[in-house]
């Protein structure tokens, strides 16, 4: 089964503990850089009420929704507490030549 990799952003677009939103084929994704500099990718909309996580806050291993402070572990997608109850999907990430790629299919 083939995997669709998309060019999400430049690695330098993100400081540590930050997030950027990516749109592809009518889907929203959030690319996150953790405190150690590693990249992660999750669904871009909060599972509670679809607020864009690109406006969220990254704290340790958590991405926090900008509207209701729902929290998700961006490494696993797990919901970490109300009002986030449903998990986020996560996507494989690779970095090549300064670009961050995420596998969306």
């Amino acid at each position: 089964m083939s995997t669709d990799w998309i060019d999400a952003c430049a690695a330098d677009d993100l400081e540590p503990e930050d997030v950027v939103g990516v749109r592809h084929a009518d889907r929203h994704y959030a690319v996150i850089r953790d405190a150690e500099g590693a990249f992660w990718a999750v669904d871009g909309l909060c599972t509670h009420q679809r607020a864009p996580l690109a406006r969220g806050v990254v704290l340790d291993d958590v991405i926090e929704c900008p509207v209701h402070n729902g929290r998700f572990d961006f490494r696993t997608g797990a919901a970490k507490g109300a009002p986030a109850c449903e998990p986020l999907a996560t996507y494989p990430v690779r970095v090549e030549a300064g670009r961050v790629w995420i596998a969306v299919g």
């Binding site: 400081e15 503990e17 930050d18 509670h48 009420q49 679809r50 607020a51 406006r55 969220g56 806050v57 704290l59 340790d60 926090e64 900008p66 509207v67 209701h68 402070n69 929290r71 970490k80 507490g81 109300a82 009002p83 109850c85």
Partner: protein, 331 residues
């Protein structure tokens, strides 16, 4: 039909802010909030001791009133903990959230979801956190000084949930996956107040109730109600811009301390990820995009009273806050 918790988020207006500046404002640490909370509780304890010493004298009334007012402002840290923003440690946040919510007679699971709903649908159809919906009932405005509305809702809802009775209104706000947690939290709430009642009976004293439940009756009116009603009362409803349906007012250090900077309420609604202690800096960042803040609580009340009076003849009347010229052009 009222909004459901699962309805898509309305497209709320959001002021522009530099991403780096915003990130800096959202940083959290446990120490700041712990110190602030320690100060609040120390003040409460001190006033509690004074009130106890004053029993049997004429000073007891103002002493207990002062205690009740400061007690009512425990709603401020509970509100902050609904958002999970005061502490870096989630465990610390959740533990204190439960304890303090019980202390102010709110069941924390339901109240957090109700508050979430309020942030989604501020002053839109179904927002029950708008304490005095339009047209303002003058009678209700006065009666709420005695916390009648509060006492006939929050603890009643908690008891109902403790019995496992979840009505349509709760189902609209709280997803089913959270019902079990809410029911057990409600049972904890009932157990705490039953224990306080038992303490009164066994100790043959009203004091445990005076310092807890009754403090909500005599303290909330001139405390949290008086200050908190300024948040939205008399402003526009049915709009998707918090600058139009929410107030920010400037105030002295004591009010800002007890209110945990929630006088910066527009800023809080627009950027709820910013912890309370960073709200003054957020206010400074955004002030050119905001209507002018009110100079104080009394200025807010002057406006609210005038609006409430006028709404008796013109139920549709609301205050229209002036937006900065550039913001109006952009609208």
């Amino acid at each position: 039909m009222s909004q459901a918790a699962t309805a898509d988020l309305p497209a709320w207006h959001r002021c522009e802010i530099d991403r780096k500046a915003f990130k800096a404002l959202t940083r959290r640490d446990d120490r700041t909030a712990l110190l602030w909370l320690a100060g609040h509780l120390a003040l409460l304890a001190g006033l509690g001791v004074l009130a106890g010493v004053a029993l049997g004298t004429g000073w007891a009334v103002p002493a207990f009133l002062a205690y009740g007012i400061v007690h009512s402002f425990l709603e401020s840290p509970v509100h902050e903990m609904h958002h999970g923003t005061p502490f870096r440690s989630r465990r610390l946040n959740e533990a204190l959230h439960t304890v303090l919510a019980y202390a102010i007679m709110k069941e924390p699971v339901y109240d957090r979801w109700a508050h979430t709903f309020h942030h989604s649908f501020t002053a839109l159809d179904g927002d029950e956190e708008i304490e005095l919906p339009r047209p303002t009932s003058l009678r209700q405005m006065v009666v709420n000084f005695l916390s009648w509305d509060f006492l006939t809702t929050h603890p009643v809802i908690a008891v109902r949930h403790a019995l496992g009775r979840i009505d349509a209104r709760t189902r609209r706000i709280v997803p089913e996956s959270e019902h079990r947690r809410m029911v057990w939290s409600s049972r904890g709430f009932v157990a705490v107040y039953a224990a306080i009642g038992l303490w009164c009976v066994l100790g043959q004293t009203w004091l445990p109730l005076v310092y807890t439940l009754l403090a909500r009756v005599f303290g909330r009116g001139l405390g949290m109600y008086f200050v908190g009603l300024t948040q939205h009362a008399g402003l526009a409803d049915g709009v998707l811009d918090h600058r139009l349906n929410t107030r920010t007012f400037l105030s002295n250090r004591l009010v800002r301390f007890l209110y945990w900077n929630m006088n910066y309420h527009v800023e809080h609604h627009m950027f709820p990820q910013v912890p309370f202690h960073a709200l003054p800096r957020l206010h400074a960042e955004l002030k050119d995009q905001m209507p002018p803040p009110y100079p104080g609580v009394l200025a807010c009340w002057k406006e609210m009273a005038a609006v409430a009076w006028r709404q008796q003849r013109e139920p549709e009347y609301v205050v229209r806050r002036p937006l900065p010229d550039a913001a109006v052009a952009a609208e």
